[in-house]
């Protein structure tokens, strides 16, 4: 079917894009979107190796990653809404109360 390096290159590109998004964005919702890109890159890798090794374990863990990502987005957006309610801004660089 699809050779392993093609899938891994797609995954590496998604991961690098997500890294850039996490570092460059200051809007908290945009940072969460970039984190979704990172998690999807991991999922592509898991599925690629599940096909390469003919093992179902990779698919099982891809499902777990999807479930954890759903939980993460729920909690993350709740925190963002709480932040917006208290500060009227969701820029992550303005939340520096714990910064030394």
């Amino acid at each position: 079917m699809i050779r392993l390096p093609l899938l891994l290159l797609f995954s590496a590109f998604l991961f690098s894009t997500g890294i850039y998004g996490v570092l460059a964005r200051r809007n908290a919702v945009m940072v969460l979107m970039a984190i979704e890109l990172l998690l999807n890159a991991v999922n592509v890798n898991l599925i690629a190796f599940a096909g390469e090794l003919q093992d179902v374990t990779g698919q099982v863990f891809a499902l777990f990653v999807i479930a954890v990502a759903a939980a993460e987005v729920g909690i993350g957006l709740a925190i963002v809404i709480l932040l917006f309610r208290n500060r009227a801004s969701i820029n992550v660089d303005e939340v520096d109360l714990l910064k030394w």
Partner: protein, 167 residues
Amino acid sequence: MNVHEYAFIVVATIGSIAALAVVTARNVVHAALYLVVTLASVGVTFLLVGAEFVGWVQILIYVGAIVILFLFGLMLTKAPIGRDALDYQNRAVGAIVGIVFALGLGSLILRAWPIGSTPAPPTIGGGSAALGSALFSTYVLPFEAVSFLLLAALIGAIVLARRDEGT
């Protein structure tokens, strides 16, 4: 090269362009819609590899649920328009880190599995039946842990986002 690989290259190109658009878009709602394209292309990739169940779960959960959550989050928080408001001013550092990651991972992958000499693996066998029996026999304890995690996240999100009344 076979037809699956050609289809994958088209889908992966669309998904990669959309991923770049997600992290560079000036409008947050446009970014969320580009995210839909990227997530759907990842789901189609899963279908092409042969992981049917994971592919449909990806499309249902991500495109159907998580992006809707993002859109709700964007509507409840007033976001400014424009890259200067959405990005740090020194985003060149982030770009350098991203490019270094892409080049490093890409050269590592191509050195370990040269595209010309790597044989194509067969389709993932067993389909959803093998996945289901593995999920509910070998991995039943992690499965229950994930369901508990989802319950905790549900309650946590409600507690966090609820307005305090008087207390």
